[in-house]
């Protein structure tokens, strides 16, 4: 996969803007500080990056959202099962520690979080960069971290040995939630978007 440093830099700026907007929207919904900050935008070797994720054998709950439109992209948010209980309490505006087990409320909370993140990320890209991104219904899945991550990169991995990955740090104030949030842009369509806003190859 060939991508210039200039293009990576622009993608980083676009990601930062859209993630900031999603972060603010999430804080509003949860009525607490939710801070999502961009960690890095990079081209990762498929085997190396999945090897690293396979080290994390925790059981997680995840939400994955595909974006259709002119620009293809996939979003993955995942957190450990115990963290999802905190998230459920925050969404239901109840004291942290009230939810005791993963149930339909937990799944619903994670699904809602996926909706909020996806819609605000796509809104930012549509309004600021004239992209056409339509979030598809979120899919919730419980599994090992490495297995969920492999699903995220499966389609990109079919046509490339490396993947373009946007990695973030996700924090919710007052809780020790350890979460993963990744975005995997479909490189061909994003190249067109970068062309359209004048970022040359």
């Amino acid at each position: 996969m060939n991508i210039t440093q200039d293009r990576l830099k622009i993608l980083e700026i676009m990601s930062r803007l859209s993630i900031d907007r999603a972060s603010r929207a999430l804080s509003k919904s949860l009525r607490t500080g939710a801070r999502i900050s961009l960690s890095k935008v990079f081209v990762a070797d498929l085997s190396e990056t999945t090897e690293k994720m396979n080290e994390d054998q925790r059981e997680m709950i995840s939400v994955m959202v595909d974006f259709k439109g002119n620009e293809g992209c996939r979003l993955l948010f995942m957190l450990p099962l115990e963290g999802s209980l905190i998230l459920t309490d925050l969404f239901l505006r109840q004291r942290i520690g009230t939810s005791k087990e993963c149930d339909v409320f937990t799944e619903s909370a994670v699904q809602e979080l996926g909706n909020i993140l996806a819609s605000h990320i796509s809104n930012a890209l549509v309004s600021d960069f004239n992209a056409k991104l339509i979030p598809q219904p979120p899919r919730v899945h419980n599994d090992y971290a490495g297995v969920i991550f492999s699903n995220l990169v499966l389609e990109q991995g079919m046509v490339n040995d490396s993947i373009l990955l946007i990695e973030t740090i996700f924090e919710i104030s007052g809780s020790k939630l350890e979460c993963y949030l990744f975005l995997v842009p479909e490189m061909k369509s994003f190249a067109k978007l970068l062309d359209s806003i004048g970022v040359g190859t």
């Binding site: 085997s47 990056t49 396979n54 297995v147």
Partner: protein, 153 residues
């Protein structure tokens, strides 16, 4: 303990432990119980569809390469090799893809049969991920499907 990523191959001599996580991918373990040499191949897709892609991602190119590496470079005896296979789950009902897990499994079984390597144990299918840990000394594979009890194969 050595972790194997998607589309990767690791071969070692005992004492060593190889581990990986599998979704729709298939994990193939080859073991020479006499020389105590073992390897784990993490196959992502059944057939290679490009010229410059990593060959160990695909069953049709990765498996022959795996066998070749086991015998030629690691020093295993071909006649002593046996296989164990895991994974091939159908992870999402609505992901628009074909059942990759099933296609992977069928291709792996076909190639191993053609290569004359016995499959002595397998656990495939389902909708959840597999956590497998392979002991190259004993040949045992400890397999835990998400949400289920651990089983040794």
């Amino acid at each position: 303990m050595i972790t194997v990523g998607v589309g990767d191959l690791k071969i070692t001599q005992a004492p060593s432990i190889l581990k990986t996580l599998l979704g729709s991918c298939i994990g193939v373990v080859l073991h020479d119980p006499v020389k105590r040499i073992g390897g784990l191949l993490h196959i992502m897709l059944p057939k290679k569809n490009g010229t410059d892609l990593k060959i160990t991602k695909y069953a049709n190119t990765g498996l022959p390469y795996f066998i070749y590496q086991m015998v030629t470079h690691a020093g295993a005896t071909r006649g002593a090799l046996y296989a164990k296979i895991f994974g091939g789950a159908k992870m999402f009902e609505t992901n628009g893809l074909l059942n990759i897990g099933e296609s992977n499994e069928l291709e792996v079984r076909r190639i191993l049969k053609d290569e004359g390597i016995r499959i002595v144990a397998s656990r495939t299918g389902g909708t959840k991920g597999y956590n497998i840990v392979f002991d190259t000394g004993t040949g045992d594979v400890t397999c835990r499907i998400f949400g289920e009890a651990t089983v040794i194969y």
